[in-house]
Protein backbone atom coordinates (compact mmCIF):
# COMPACT_ATOMS: atom_id res chain seq x y z
CA UNK A 1 0.00 0.00 0.00
CA UNK A 2 2.62 2.45 1.08
CA UNK A 3 4.91 1.90 -1.86
CA UNK A 4 2.50 3.82 -4.05
CA UNK A 5 3.36 6.95 -2.08
CA UNK A 6 7.02 7.08 -3.08
CA UNK A 7 9.17 6.04 -6.02
CA UNK A 8 11.50 3.09 -6.11
CA UNK A 9 14.59 4.38 -4.43
CA UNK A 10 17.56 5.47 -6.45
CA UNK A 11 21.07 6.05 -5.03
CA UNK A 12 20.25 9.53 -3.73
CA UNK A 13 17.04 8.48 -2.05
CA UNK A 14 18.83 5.54 -0.49
CA UNK A 15 21.50 7.82 0.88
CA UNK A 16 18.83 10.14 2.24
CA UNK A 17 17.11 7.20 3.87
CA UNK A 18 20.30 6.21 5.59
CA UNK A 19 20.66 9.76 6.89
CA UNK A 20 17.08 9.72 8.17
CA UNK A 21 17.52 6.29 9.75
CA UNK A 22 20.70 7.30 11.52
CA UNK A 23 19.19 10.60 12.67
CA UNK A 24 16.09 8.89 14.00
CA UNK A 25 18.19 6.21 15.66
CA UNK A 26 20.25 8.87 17.42
CA UNK A 27 17.12 10.68 18.58
CA UNK A 28 15.58 7.45 19.87
CA UNK A 29 18.79 6.44 21.58
CA UNK A 30 19.06 9.88 23.17
CA UNK A 31 15.57 9.60 24.64
CA UNK A 32 16.17 6.06 25.86
CA UNK A 33 19.54 7.05 27.32
CA UNK A 34 17.95 9.97 29.14
CA UNK A 35 15.22 7.74 30.59
CA UNK A 36 17.64 5.05 31.69
CA UNK A 37 20.24 7.36 33.14
CA UNK A 38 17.56 9.27 35.03
CA UNK A 39 16.12 6.01 36.35
CA UNK A 40 19.59 4.83 37.28
CA UNK A 41 20.29 8.16 38.95
CA UNK A 42 17.13 7.84 41.03
CA UNK A 43 18.01 4.27 41.97
CA UNK A 44 14.99 2.87 40.17
CA UNK A 45 17.03 0.29 38.30
CA UNK A 46 18.45 -1.28 41.46
CA UNK A 47 18.22 -5.03 41.22
CA UNK A 48 16.42 -5.15 44.59
CA UNK A 49 13.45 -3.31 43.08
CA UNK A 50 13.09 -5.72 40.15
CA UNK A 51 14.23 -8.93 41.72
CA UNK A 52 10.87 -9.77 43.40
CA UNK A 53 9.27 -10.27 40.00
CA UNK A 54 11.61 -13.14 39.30
CA UNK A 55 10.29 -15.06 42.31
CA UNK A 56 6.95 -16.80 42.39
CA UNK A 57 5.91 -15.29 45.73
CA UNK A 58 5.35 -11.81 44.30
CA UNK A 59 3.16 -13.36 41.62
CA UNK A 60 1.19 -15.62 43.90
CA UNK A 61 0.73 -13.05 46.68
CA UNK A 62 -0.03 -9.88 44.78
CA UNK A 63 -0.18 -10.13 41.00
CA UNK A 64 -2.19 -13.30 40.44
CA UNK A 65 -5.04 -12.42 42.86
CA UNK A 66 -5.24 -8.98 41.24
CA UNK A 67 -5.11 -10.39 37.73
CA UNK A 68 -7.83 -12.86 38.68
CA UNK A 69 -10.11 -9.99 39.67
CA UNK A 70 -9.30 -8.08 36.49
CA UNK A 71 -10.11 -11.11 34.35
CA UNK A 72 -13.19 -11.93 36.37
CA UNK A 73 -14.60 -8.43 35.93
CA UNK A 74 -13.80 -8.43 32.20
CA UNK A 75 -15.30 -11.90 31.64
CA UNK A 76 -18.45 -11.14 33.61
CA UNK A 77 -18.90 -7.84 31.79
CA UNK A 78 -18.53 -9.51 28.39
CA UNK A 79 -20.86 -12.39 29.23
CA UNK A 80 -23.59 -10.07 30.50
CA UNK A 81 -23.15 -7.31 27.94
CA UNK A 82 -23.23 -9.57 24.89
CA UNK A 83 -26.85 -10.82 25.13
CA UNK A 84 -27.95 -7.40 26.33
CA UNK A 85 -26.23 -5.76 23.39
CA UNK A 86 -27.76 -8.29 20.98
CA UNK A 87 -31.25 -7.51 22.25
CA UNK A 88 -30.66 -3.76 22.03
CA UNK A 89 -29.10 -4.01 18.59
CA UNK A 90 -31.93 -6.11 17.18
CA UNK A 91 -34.50 -3.85 18.82
CA UNK A 92 -32.97 -0.90 17.01
CA UNK A 93 -33.75 -2.66 13.73
CA UNK A 94 -37.35 -3.34 14.71
CA UNK A 95 -40.19 -2.21 12.48
CA UNK A 96 -42.06 -0.90 15.49
CA UNK A 97 -41.33 2.68 16.46
CA UNK A 98 -42.01 2.07 20.16
CA UNK A 99 -39.29 -0.58 20.21
CA UNK A 100 -36.81 1.09 17.87
CA UNK A 101 -36.80 4.56 19.42
CA UNK A 102 -36.38 3.63 23.11
CA UNK A 103 -33.62 1.16 22.20
CA UNK A 104 -31.95 3.90 20.19
CA UNK A 105 -32.16 6.36 23.08
CA UNK A 106 -30.70 3.84 25.54
CA UNK A 107 -27.82 3.01 23.22
CA UNK A 108 -26.94 6.62 22.43
CA UNK A 109 -27.27 7.67 26.08
CA UNK A 110 -24.89 5.08 27.46
CA UNK A 111 -22.43 5.61 24.64
CA UNK A 112 -22.28 9.31 25.50
CA UNK A 113 -21.33 8.83 29.15
CA UNK A 114 -17.84 7.98 30.44
CA UNK A 115 -17.50 4.47 31.89
CA UNK A 116 -15.91 5.95 34.99
CA UNK A 117 -19.01 8.04 35.69
CA UNK A 118 -21.15 4.91 35.36
CA UNK A 119 -18.83 3.04 37.74
CA UNK A 120 -18.85 5.79 40.36
CA UNK A 121 -22.63 5.85 40.14
CA UNK A 122 -22.82 2.07 40.48
CA UNK A 123 -20.58 2.01 43.54
CA UNK A 124 -22.68 4.61 45.34
CA UNK A 125 -25.91 2.97 44.24
CA UNK A 126 -24.93 -0.42 45.60
CA UNK A 127 -23.72 0.95 48.91
CA UNK A 128 -26.93 2.91 49.42
CA UNK A 129 -29.67 0.63 48.20
CA UNK A 130 -28.37 -2.93 48.38
CA UNK A 131 -26.60 -5.10 50.93
CA UNK A 132 -23.88 -6.46 48.71
CA UNK A 133 -20.85 -6.92 50.97
CA UNK A 134 -18.28 -4.14 51.05
CA UNK A 135 -15.75 -6.50 49.55
CA UNK A 136 -17.79 -7.36 46.48
CA UNK A 137 -19.24 -3.93 45.87
CA UNK A 138 -16.38 -2.58 43.74
CA UNK A 139 -16.59 -5.66 41.50
CA UNK A 140 -20.31 -5.14 41.03
CA UNK A 141 -19.79 -1.45 40.33
CA UNK A 142 -17.04 -2.09 37.78
CA UNK A 143 -19.06 -4.79 36.02
CA UNK A 144 -22.17 -2.58 36.01
CA UNK A 145 -20.32 0.31 34.42
CA UNK A 146 -18.69 -1.93 31.85
CA UNK A 147 -21.95 -3.72 31.02
CA UNK A 148 -23.99 -0.55 30.54
CA UNK A 149 -21.42 1.01 28.24
CA UNK A 150 -20.38 -2.09 26.34
CA UNK A 151 -23.92 -3.35 25.83
CA UNK A 152 -24.52 -0.08 23.97
CA UNK A 153 -21.38 -0.51 21.89
CA UNK A 154 -22.11 -4.19 21.20
CA UNK A 155 -25.62 -3.21 20.16
CA UNK A 156 -24.09 -1.07 17.45
CA UNK A 157 -21.77 -3.91 16.43
CA UNK A 158 -24.72 -6.28 16.16
CA UNK A 159 -26.76 -3.77 14.20
CA UNK A 160 -23.90 -3.02 11.83
CA UNK A 161 -23.28 -6.77 11.46
CA UNK A 162 -26.85 -7.40 10.41
CA UNK A 163 -26.95 -4.37 8.12
CA UNK A 164 -23.72 -5.48 6.47
CA UNK A 165 -25.40 -8.63 5.13
CA UNK A 166 -26.52 -8.43 1.51
CA UNK A 167 -30.15 -7.40 1.16
CA UNK A 168 -30.87 -10.51 -0.92
CA UNK A 169 -30.53 -12.66 2.17
CA UNK A 170 -33.57 -11.26 3.94
CA UNK A 171 -35.48 -10.78 0.68
CA UNK A 172 -35.00 -14.41 -0.28
CA UNK A 173 -36.02 -15.50 3.21
CA UNK A 174 -39.17 -13.39 3.02
CA UNK A 175 -39.89 -14.79 -0.43
CA UNK A 176 -39.98 -18.36 0.84
CA UNK A 177 -42.53 -17.26 3.40
CA UNK A 178 -40.54 -16.92 6.61
CA UNK A 179 -41.85 -14.49 9.16
CA UNK A 180 -39.82 -11.53 10.47
CA UNK A 181 -38.74 -13.37 13.61
CA UNK A 182 -37.73 -16.41 11.62
CA UNK A 183 -35.75 -14.36 9.13
CA UNK A 184 -33.80 -12.79 11.96
CA UNK A 185 -33.30 -16.05 13.87
CA UNK A 186 -32.53 -18.49 11.12
CA UNK A 187 -31.05 -16.38 8.32
CA UNK A 188 -29.62 -13.07 9.48
CA UNK A 189 -28.27 -13.67 12.98
CA UNK A 190 -26.21 -16.80 12.26
CA UNK A 191 -24.44 -15.04 9.40
CA UNK A 192 -24.10 -11.77 11.27
CA UNK A 193 -22.56 -13.44 14.30
CA UNK A 194 -19.74 -14.79 12.17
CA UNK A 195 -19.19 -11.39 10.64
CA UNK A 196 -19.15 -9.73 14.05
CA UNK A 197 -16.74 -12.08 15.80
CA UNK A 198 -13.55 -10.07 15.15
CA UNK A 199 -15.22 -6.85 16.29
CA UNK A 200 -16.48 -8.57 19.42
CA UNK A 201 -13.05 -9.92 20.28
CA UNK A 202 -11.61 -6.43 19.78
CA UNK A 203 -14.21 -5.04 22.12
CA UNK A 204 -12.92 -7.43 24.76
CA UNK A 205 -9.63 -5.53 24.64
CA UNK A 206 -11.53 -2.36 25.50
CA UNK A 207 -13.22 -4.11 28.40
CA UNK A 208 -9.96 -5.49 29.77
CA UNK A 209 -8.40 -2.04 29.59
CA UNK A 210 -11.36 -0.35 31.23
CA UNK A 211 -11.30 -2.65 34.26
CA UNK A 212 -8.18 -0.71 35.23
CA UNK A 213 -10.41 2.23 36.15
CA UNK A 214 -11.76 0.13 39.02
CA UNK A 215 -8.33 -0.15 40.62
CA UNK A 216 -7.06 3.27 39.61
CA UNK A 217 -9.96 5.39 40.79
CA UNK A 218 -12.38 3.15 42.72
CA UNK A 219 -11.42 0.58 45.36
CA UNK A 220 -11.52 -2.52 43.19
CA UNK A 221 -8.75 -5.01 44.11
CA UNK A 222 -7.59 -5.58 40.56
CA UNK A 223 -4.17 -5.72 38.97
CA UNK A 224 -3.68 -1.96 39.31
CA UNK A 225 -4.65 -2.00 42.99
CA UNK A 226 -2.20 -4.87 43.58
CA UNK A 227 0.61 -2.38 42.97
CA UNK A 228 -0.12 -0.68 46.28
CA UNK A 229 0.59 -3.49 48.82
CA UNK A 230 3.25 -4.90 46.49
CA UNK A 231 5.25 -1.70 46.26
CA UNK A 232 4.92 -0.97 49.96
CA UNK A 233 6.27 -4.42 50.78
CA UNK A 234 9.18 -4.39 48.35
CA UNK A 235 10.41 -0.93 49.34
CA UNK A 236 8.51 1.42 47.05
CA UNK A 237 9.41 -0.21 43.75
CA UNK A 238 6.43 1.53 42.25
CA UNK A 239 8.03 2.15 38.85
CA UNK A 240 9.00 -1.50 38.56
CA UNK A 241 5.56 -2.64 39.70
CA UNK A 242 3.73 -0.46 37.21
CA UNK A 243 6.05 -1.54 34.42
CA UNK A 244 5.29 -5.19 35.14
CA UNK A 245 1.55 -4.52 35.36
CA UNK A 246 1.68 -2.59 32.08
CA UNK A 247 3.51 -5.47 30.40
CA UNK A 248 0.89 -7.94 31.61
CA UNK A 249 -1.86 -5.79 30.10
CA UNK A 250 0.05 -5.52 26.83
CA UNK A 251 0.52 -9.30 26.72
CA UNK A 252 -3.16 -10.05 27.31
CA UNK A 253 -4.44 -7.43 24.91
CA UNK A 254 -1.87 -8.18 22.26
CA UNK A 255 -2.97 -11.81 22.31
CA UNK A 256 -6.61 -10.73 21.97
CA UNK A 257 -5.82 -8.31 19.13
CA UNK A 258 -3.82 -10.94 17.28
CA UNK A 259 -6.66 -13.42 17.74
CA UNK A 260 -9.12 -10.84 16.37
CA UNK A 261 -7.12 -10.17 13.22
CA UNK A 262 -6.51 -13.90 12.70
CA UNK A 263 -10.27 -14.44 12.93
CA UNK A 264 -10.90 -11.61 10.53
CA UNK A 265 -8.43 -12.91 7.96
CA UNK A 266 -9.91 -16.40 8.23
CA UNK A 267 -13.44 -15.12 7.79
CA UNK A 268 -12.54 -12.98 4.80
CA UNK A 269 -10.98 -16.01 3.13
CA UNK A 270 -13.97 -18.26 3.86
CA UNK A 271 -15.96 -18.77 0.66
CA UNK A 272 -19.16 -20.11 2.17
CA UNK A 273 -20.12 -16.97 4.06
CA UNK A 274 -21.52 -13.88 2.44
CA UNK A 275 -18.17 -12.27 2.88
CA UNK A 276 -19.41 -9.53 5.11
CA UNK A 277 -16.92 -9.00 7.90
CA UNK A 278 -16.83 -6.05 10.26
CA UNK A 279 -13.48 -4.37 10.57
CA UNK A 280 -12.50 -4.80 14.21
CA UNK A 281 -10.55 -1.56 14.09
CA UNK A 282 -13.37 0.53 12.78
CA UNK A 283 -13.74 3.01 15.58
CA UNK A 284 -17.15 4.07 14.34
CA UNK A 285 -18.71 0.76 15.31
CA UNK A 286 -16.61 -0.88 17.94
CA UNK A 287 -15.18 1.38 20.57
CA UNK A 288 -11.68 0.11 20.02
CA UNK A 289 -10.39 3.19 21.70
CA UNK A 290 -11.16 2.18 25.22
CA UNK A 291 -12.94 4.13 27.89
CA UNK A 292 -15.78 4.96 25.67
CA UNK A 293 -14.92 5.25 22.05
CA UNK A 294 -17.59 4.51 19.52
CA UNK A 295 -19.16 7.89 19.08
CA UNK A 296 -20.99 8.19 15.84
CA UNK A 297 -23.69 9.64 17.97
CA UNK A 298 -25.07 11.48 15.01
CA UNK A 299 -23.14 9.64 12.36
CA UNK A 300 -24.58 6.15 12.30
Amino acid sequence: MSSVLYDAQGPRAKRRNVVFTVGFLIALAAVLWWVFSALEDKQQLEWAKWEPFFHTEAWSTYIWPGLQNTLKAAALAMVIALPLGAVLGISRLSDHVWVRVPAGIIVEFFRAIPVLVLMIFGLALYSEYTNISTEDRPLYAVVTGLVLYNAAVLAEIVRAGILALPKGQSEAAMAIGLRKGQVMRTILLPQAVTAMLPAIVSQTVVIVKDTALGGGVLTFSDLIAAVSPMSSYYGANIIASFTVVGLIFIAINFALTTFASWLERRLRRGKKSTGAVLDPNDASISGTMGTGAGGGVGGI
Binding site: P65, T134, E135, T194, P229, A236
Partner: protein
Protein backbone atom coordinates in the same frame (compact mmCIF):
# COMPACT_ATOMS: atom_id res chain seq x y z
CA UNK B 1 -15.90 -26.19 10.89
CA UNK B 2 -12.58 -25.19 12.37
CA UNK B 3 -14.01 -21.86 13.30
CA UNK B 4 -16.74 -23.50 15.30
CA UNK B 5 -14.08 -25.36 17.24
CA UNK B 6 -12.28 -22.14 17.99
CA UNK B 7 -15.50 -20.52 19.15
CA UNK B 8 -16.28 -23.50 21.36
CA UNK B 9 -12.76 -23.52 22.74
CA UNK B 10 -12.83 -19.83 23.61
CA UNK B 11 -16.25 -20.22 25.21
CA UNK B 12 -14.92 -23.12 27.26
CA UNK B 13 -11.87 -21.10 28.28
CA UNK B 14 -14.10 -18.25 29.35
CA UNK B 15 -16.32 -20.50 31.44
CA UNK B 16 -13.24 -22.12 32.97
CA UNK B 17 -11.79 -18.74 33.86
CA UNK B 18 -15.08 -17.68 35.38
CA UNK B 19 -15.50 -20.76 37.52
CA UNK B 20 -11.87 -20.72 38.56
CA UNK B 21 -12.06 -17.13 39.74
CA UNK B 22 -15.51 -17.60 41.24
CA UNK B 23 -14.31 -20.52 43.36
CA UNK B 24 -11.41 -18.41 44.57
CA UNK B 25 -13.73 -15.90 46.13
CA UNK B 26 -16.53 -18.15 47.27
CA UNK B 27 -14.65 -20.11 49.90
CA UNK B 28 -13.99 -16.86 51.72
CA UNK B 29 -17.64 -15.95 52.05
CA UNK B 30 -18.64 -19.27 53.55
CA UNK B 31 -17.23 -18.26 56.92
CA UNK B 32 -19.80 -15.52 57.23
CA UNK B 33 -19.80 -13.28 60.23
CA UNK B 34 -21.51 -15.45 62.76
CA UNK B 35 -21.17 -15.19 66.49
CA UNK B 36 -18.66 -16.91 68.76
CA UNK B 37 -19.80 -20.40 67.81
CA UNK B 38 -18.40 -20.35 64.31
CA UNK B 39 -14.89 -21.59 63.81
CA UNK B 40 -13.42 -18.38 62.46
CA UNK B 41 -13.36 -14.66 63.06
CA UNK B 42 -13.05 -11.99 60.38
CA UNK B 43 -10.77 -9.08 61.10
CA UNK B 44 -10.25 -5.95 59.05
CA UNK B 45 -6.68 -4.66 58.67
CA UNK B 46 -4.62 -2.58 56.27
CA UNK B 47 -2.73 -4.44 53.55
CA UNK B 48 -0.31 -1.74 52.50
CA UNK B 49 1.12 -0.16 55.64
CA UNK B 50 4.40 -1.76 56.65
CA UNK B 51 4.79 -1.84 60.45
CA UNK B 52 1.01 -1.50 60.89
CA UNK B 53 -0.69 -3.96 58.59
CA UNK B 54 1.06 -5.32 55.53
CA UNK B 55 0.25 -8.21 53.24
CA UNK B 56 3.41 -10.23 52.72
CA UNK B 57 4.11 -13.46 50.88
CA UNK B 58 4.39 -15.11 54.31
CA UNK B 59 1.04 -13.83 55.57
CA UNK B 60 0.30 -10.60 57.38
CA UNK B 61 2.59 -8.55 59.58
CA UNK B 62 2.57 -5.33 61.57
CA UNK B 63 1.57 -3.91 64.94
CA UNK B 64 -2.17 -3.88 64.21
CA UNK B 65 -1.90 -7.47 63.05
CA UNK B 66 -0.17 -8.50 66.29
CA UNK B 67 -2.80 -6.71 68.37
CA UNK B 68 -5.58 -8.35 66.38
CA UNK B 69 -3.98 -11.77 66.80
CA UNK B 70 -3.74 -11.24 70.57
CA UNK B 71 -7.36 -10.15 70.80
CA UNK B 72 -8.48 -13.11 68.70
CA UNK B 73 -6.53 -15.44 70.97
CA UNK B 74 -8.22 -13.96 74.02
CA UNK B 75 -11.59 -14.37 72.32
CA UNK B 76 -10.82 -18.05 71.80
CA UNK B 77 -9.56 -18.21 68.23
CA UNK B 78 -6.25 -19.60 67.14
CA UNK B 79 -4.19 -17.80 64.54
CA UNK B 80 -5.35 -19.92 61.62
CA UNK B 81 -8.97 -19.29 62.52
CA UNK B 82 -8.54 -15.60 61.70
CA UNK B 83 -9.92 -14.47 58.36
CA UNK B 84 -8.08 -11.31 57.31
CA UNK B 85 -9.87 -8.75 55.17
CA UNK B 86 -8.58 -5.52 53.75
CA UNK B 87 -10.42 -2.54 55.21
CA UNK B 88 -9.58 0.58 53.24
CA UNK B 89 -9.98 3.83 55.13
CA UNK B 90 -13.17 4.87 53.38
CA UNK B 91 -14.82 1.46 53.88
CA UNK B 92 -14.20 0.92 57.59
CA UNK B 93 -17.49 2.19 59.06
CA UNK B 94 -19.61 0.42 56.45
CA UNK B 95 -17.79 -2.86 56.91
CA UNK B 96 -18.56 -2.79 60.63
CA UNK B 97 -22.14 -1.64 60.23
CA UNK B 98 -22.85 -4.36 57.73
CA UNK B 99 -21.09 -7.01 59.76
CA UNK B 100 -18.56 -7.88 57.03
CA UNK B 101 -15.91 -8.01 59.75
CA UNK B 102 -16.14 -8.58 63.50
CA UNK B 103 -13.59 -5.98 64.42
CA UNK B 104 -11.16 -3.65 62.69
CA UNK B 105 -7.58 -2.90 63.67
CA UNK B 106 -6.36 -0.66 60.88
CA UNK B 107 -4.69 2.54 62.15
CA UNK B 108 -8.24 3.52 63.01
CA UNK B 109 -8.26 6.74 65.05
CA UNK B 110 -11.16 7.42 67.35
CA UNK B 111 -13.10 10.61 66.62
CA UNK B 112 -16.57 11.95 67.27
CA UNK B 113 -17.85 11.53 63.76
CA UNK B 114 -16.85 7.89 63.63
CA UNK B 115 -18.17 7.23 67.13
CA UNK B 116 -21.63 8.15 65.92
CA UNK B 117 -21.53 5.18 63.55
CA UNK B 118 -19.39 2.56 65.29
CA UNK B 119 -18.04 1.71 68.76
CA UNK B 120 -14.37 1.72 69.66
CA UNK B 121 -12.51 -0.49 72.10
CA UNK B 122 -9.19 0.84 73.34
CA UNK B 123 -7.38 3.05 72.55
CA UNK B 124 -4.35 0.81 72.21
CA UNK B 125 -1.87 3.26 70.73
CA UNK B 126 -1.39 7.00 70.76
CA UNK B 127 0.04 8.27 67.49
CA UNK B 128 0.54 11.77 66.13
CA UNK B 129 0.40 13.28 62.71
CA UNK B 130 3.95 13.89 61.62
CA UNK B 131 6.07 14.32 58.52
CA UNK B 132 8.65 12.07 56.93
CA UNK B 133 11.51 13.98 55.36
CA UNK B 134 14.83 13.17 53.73
CA UNK B 135 17.54 12.67 56.36
CA UNK B 136 19.72 15.37 54.80
CA UNK B 137 16.94 17.93 54.72
CA UNK B 138 17.40 20.51 57.48
CA UNK B 139 15.01 23.12 56.18
CA UNK B 140 11.93 21.71 57.93
CA UNK B 141 12.19 22.40 61.64
CA UNK B 142 8.62 23.24 62.56
CA UNK B 143 5.19 22.69 61.01
CA UNK B 144 5.23 26.31 59.82
CA UNK B 145 8.20 25.51 57.57
CA UNK B 146 5.91 23.26 55.58
CA UNK B 147 4.17 26.27 54.07
CA UNK B 148 6.77 26.69 51.37
CA UNK B 149 7.13 22.95 50.79
CA UNK B 150 5.67 20.23 48.62
CA UNK B 151 3.71 17.70 50.65
CA UNK B 152 2.27 14.36 49.75
CA UNK B 153 -0.46 12.32 51.32
CA UNK B 154 -3.15 9.82 50.48
CA UNK B 155 -6.24 10.97 48.58
CA UNK B 156 -8.99 12.12 50.92
CA UNK B 157 -7.10 11.34 54.14
CA UNK B 158 -7.62 13.39 57.29
CA UNK B 159 -3.91 14.18 57.34
CA UNK B 160 -4.26 15.83 53.96
CA UNK B 161 -7.29 17.81 55.16
CA UNK B 162 -5.41 18.93 58.28
CA UNK B 163 -2.52 20.27 56.25
CA UNK B 164 -4.78 22.12 53.84
CA UNK B 165 -6.96 23.67 56.51
CA UNK B 166 -4.79 24.20 59.58
CA UNK B 167 -1.13 23.28 59.60
CA UNK B 168 0.27 24.68 56.40
CA UNK B 169 -2.39 26.14 54.15
CA UNK B 170 0.14 27.48 51.65
CA UNK B 171 1.88 24.17 51.08
CA UNK B 172 1.55 22.40 47.75
CA UNK B 173 -0.26 19.13 48.29
CA UNK B 174 -0.03 16.11 45.99
CA UNK B 175 -2.48 13.31 46.71
CA UNK B 176 -1.97 9.71 45.60
CA UNK B 177 -4.01 6.58 46.15
CA UNK B 178 -1.12 5.00 48.09
CA UNK B 179 1.74 6.09 50.36
CA UNK B 180 4.38 4.19 48.43
CA UNK B 181 3.70 6.51 45.50
CA UNK B 182 4.67 9.43 47.73
CA UNK B 183 7.90 7.72 48.82
CA UNK B 184 9.22 7.59 45.27
CA UNK B 185 8.74 11.33 44.92
CA UNK B 186 10.20 12.01 48.36
CA UNK B 187 13.31 10.05 47.52
CA UNK B 188 13.67 11.88 44.20
CA UNK B 189 13.10 15.33 45.69
CA UNK B 190 9.92 15.90 43.69
CA UNK B 191 8.26 16.03 47.12
CA UNK B 192 9.67 17.44 50.36
CA UNK B 193 7.59 15.71 52.99
CA UNK B 194 5.12 12.89 53.36
CA UNK B 195 2.56 13.50 56.06
CA UNK B 196 0.41 11.07 58.02
CA UNK B 197 0.52 9.34 61.44
CA UNK B 198 4.03 8.86 62.82
CA UNK B 199 3.35 5.18 63.43
CA UNK B 200 2.72 4.63 59.71
CA UNK B 201 5.69 6.76 58.72
CA UNK B 202 7.94 4.80 61.07
CA UNK B 203 6.93 1.62 59.31
CA UNK B 204 8.05 2.97 55.96
CA UNK B 205 11.23 4.52 57.32
CA UNK B 206 12.34 1.21 58.81
CA UNK B 207 12.08 -0.73 55.54
CA UNK B 208 15.37 -2.09 54.31
CA UNK B 209 15.22 -0.06 51.13
CA UNK B 210 14.95 3.22 53.03
CA UNK B 211 17.17 2.70 56.08
CA UNK B 212 18.99 5.94 56.82
CA UNK B 213 17.38 7.82 53.95
CA UNK B 214 14.37 9.28 55.74
CA UNK B 215 13.69 10.71 59.19
CA UNK B 216 10.63 11.71 61.16
CA UNK B 217 10.03 15.40 61.80
CA UNK B 218 8.82 14.73 65.36
CA UNK B 219 6.22 17.51 65.28
CA UNK B 220 3.27 15.77 67.01
CA UNK B 221 0.80 17.89 65.09
CA UNK B 222 -2.30 16.01 66.22
CA UNK B 223 -3.27 13.21 68.58
CA UNK B 224 -4.50 10.03 66.95
CA UNK B 225 -5.96 7.50 69.37
CA UNK B 226 -5.98 4.15 67.63
CA UNK B 227 -8.95 2.08 68.64
CA UNK B 228 -10.41 -1.28 67.70
CA UNK B 229 -13.58 -0.63 65.74
CA UNK B 230 -16.59 -2.82 66.48
CA UNK B 231 -20.23 -2.70 65.47
CA UNK B 232 -22.32 -0.19 67.45
CA UNK B 233 -23.65 -1.81 70.61
CA UNK B 234 -21.54 -4.95 70.20
CA UNK B 235 -20.64 -6.88 73.36
CA UNK B 236 -17.22 -7.43 71.80
CA UNK B 237 -16.16 -3.99 72.97
CA UNK B 238 -15.90 -5.02 76.64
CA UNK B 239 -14.17 -8.30 75.77
CA UNK B 240 -11.64 -6.57 73.56
CA UNK B 241 -10.95 -3.97 76.26
CA UNK B 242 -10.19 -6.77 78.71
CA UNK B 243 -7.93 -8.39 76.15
CA UNK B 244 -6.10 -5.11 75.49
CA UNK B 245 -5.55 -4.54 79.22
CA UNK B 246 -4.12 -8.01 79.52
CA UNK B 247 -1.91 -7.44 76.50
CA UNK B 248 -0.36 -4.39 78.14
CA UNK B 249 0.01 -5.97 81.58
CA UNK B 250 1.65 -9.21 80.43
CA UNK B 251 4.19 -7.37 78.32
CA UNK B 252 2.97 -8.57 74.93
CA UNK B 253 2.06 -5.02 73.97
CA UNK B 254 5.61 -3.74 74.50
CA UNK B 255 6.97 -6.76 72.66
CA UNK B 256 4.77 -6.03 69.66
CA UNK B 257 5.78 -2.37 69.70
CA UNK B 258 9.47 -3.27 69.83
CA UNK B 259 9.15 -5.83 67.09
CA UNK B 260 7.30 -3.56 64.68
CA UNK B 261 8.46 -0.04 65.46
CA UNK B 262 11.83 -0.78 67.05
CA UNK B 263 13.98 -0.73 63.91
CA UNK B 264 12.66 2.71 62.97
CA UNK B 265 13.88 4.34 66.18
CA UNK B 266 10.31 5.50 66.66
CA UNK B 267 9.69 6.82 70.17
CA UNK B 268 6.22 5.54 70.87
CA UNK B 269 3.98 6.90 73.60
CA UNK B 270 3.42 4.61 76.59
CA UNK B 271 0.46 2.26 76.37
CA UNK B 272 -2.71 4.33 76.72
CA UNK B 273 -5.28 3.56 79.44
CA UNK B 274 -8.43 1.98 78.08
CA UNK B 275 -11.07 4.63 77.48
CA UNK B 276 -8.61 7.46 77.94
CA UNK B 277 -8.83 9.36 74.69
CA UNK B 278 -6.27 12.13 74.38
CA UNK B 279 -7.80 14.94 72.41
Amino acid sequence: MKLRKVTAASAAALVLALTATACGSDDKDSSGSGSGDSKSITVGIKFDQPGIGQKTPQGYSGFDVDVAKYIAKELGYSEDQIEWKESKSADRETMLQRGDVEFIAASYSINDERQKKVDFAGPYLLAHQDVLIRSDDDSIKSPADLNSKKLCSVTGSTSAQNVKEKLAPKAQLQEYPTYSACLTGLQNKAIDALTTDDSILAGYASQDAFKGKFKLGGFKMTNENYGIGVKKGSDLKAKINTALEKMVSDGSWQKAVDANFGPAGYKNEPAPKIGNIVS
